[in-house]
């Protein structure tokens, strides 16, 4: 499936580029890395509107899990600020 290959390739390249850029800028927080990954994965998934229904359902599940992780990070930061 050509559309699968292009999607995976774009996500992989974006994640790798993000890692390189964040390392180059001296980022040392795992939260920032993860947040950037999640945002990129969600945007690319939304841009691929022509996936079949089964693939879309599966990717929606992945997006939900990734977003759940993002919410956990945000909650921990809020708790840290309030404490």
């Amino acid at each position: 499936m050509k559309i699968y290959n292009s999607y995976i390739l774009i996500v992989a390249v974006l994640l790798l580029l993000t890692t390189v850029i964040l390392v180059a800028t001296g980022q040392n927080s795992l939260d920032i890395y993860y947040t950037a990954y999640v945002i990129e994965a969600l945007i690319v998934t939304e841009l691929y509107v022509y996936f079949n229904a089964k693939a879309r359902r599966g990717l929606n599940l992945v997006s939900t899990i990734l977003f759940g992780g993002f919410l956990v990070i945000v909650s921990l930061q809020v708790i840290k600020i309030l404490a």
Binding site: M1, V11, A12, L15, T19, L22, Y50, A53
Partner: protein, 246 residues
């Protein structure tokens, strides 16, 4: 259950590698960037595993075999009957079921004859005259349209979206489609088609597999009978011209 294909194997490989890299980087080497790289591998592995589950069990070779067998059978019937008329792709509202193609045995009927739903039979009478007899056949478009999530709308943009979704997202037979509508003529350009058209008698009557799918989807979208006027394939582009019968 996991389906064994390249996506699944790649996903499993990245899952193991990503777990090892992220855990060792976080707990042993204390390197944030390496931990992040491991996490990105894990994200990619989950995506690969999910996509691996959606790959059809049948290989493209088996699918091609089934498609060719079906087309060959219809081609034999058409050639034996010596039919030269162009097929008319009918929407589901005129076939009392799924959209199909009507092949007139004598000459192309005027669309005014096609007002009521035809019975679900192979040989059908579509008009009052004894000569108004044709074959109502299932085409690749009939099956393909069932894969669409919703009925396509009757605007060029909606048809373009449905065709791109079908060709790129579901079947993987082309890179996209562009639709232009002008005075009951629909011109569809398909980018990088991966199905070749054969110059056989049945193809001249029914059109190639891609044209058949385009005609079926267009007939369903406009809810009108549609015929294939022209079909060309050259330079990584397939141009199909349809006429909406009014």
């Amino acid at each position: 259950m996991l389906k064994r294909n390249l996506y699944t194997w790649a996903g499993l490989g990245l899952l193991i590698a990503g777990s090892l890299v992220s855990l060792s980087a976080y707990f042993i080497f204390l390197l944030t960037w390496l931990t992040a790289l491991g996490i990105s591998m894990l994200i990619l592995s989950v995506i690969l595993l999910v996509l691996g589950r959606t790959i059809p069990k049948l290989s493209p070779e088996v699918s091609g075999l089934l498609l060719e067998t079906g087309i060959d059978n219809i081609a034999t019937i058409i050639e034996e009957l010596g039919i030269r008329a162009k097929a008319i792709y009918l929407p589901s509202s005129l076939t009392s079921g799924r959209p199909r193609a009507l092949i007139p045995l004598h000459s192309n009927p005027s669309s005014s004859l096609l007002t009521k739903a035809l019975p679900q039979r192979l040989i059908v009478q579509y008009g009052a005259s004894p000569d108004d007899i044709g074959l109502l056949v299932t085409t690749t478009g009939t099956t393909a349209i069932g894969m669409l999530e919703s009925r396509p709308g009757s605007t060029p943009e909606e048809l373009e979206s449905s065709l791109t979704s079908l060709f790129t997202g579901m079947l993987g037979v082309a890179d996209g489609a562009k639709v232009v509508y002008h005075e009951n003529r629909i011109r569809v350009e398909i980018r990088n088609p991966r199905i070749e058209n054969k110059a056989t008698w049945s193809h001249q009557c029914l059109g190639g597999p891609l044209a058949s799918m385009v005609a079926s989807v267009a007939a369903e979208a406009w809810d009108r009978p549609v015929t294939i006027k022209q079909e060309e394939q050259h330079g990584g582009k397939c141009s199909i011209e349809l006429e909406v019968l009014v």
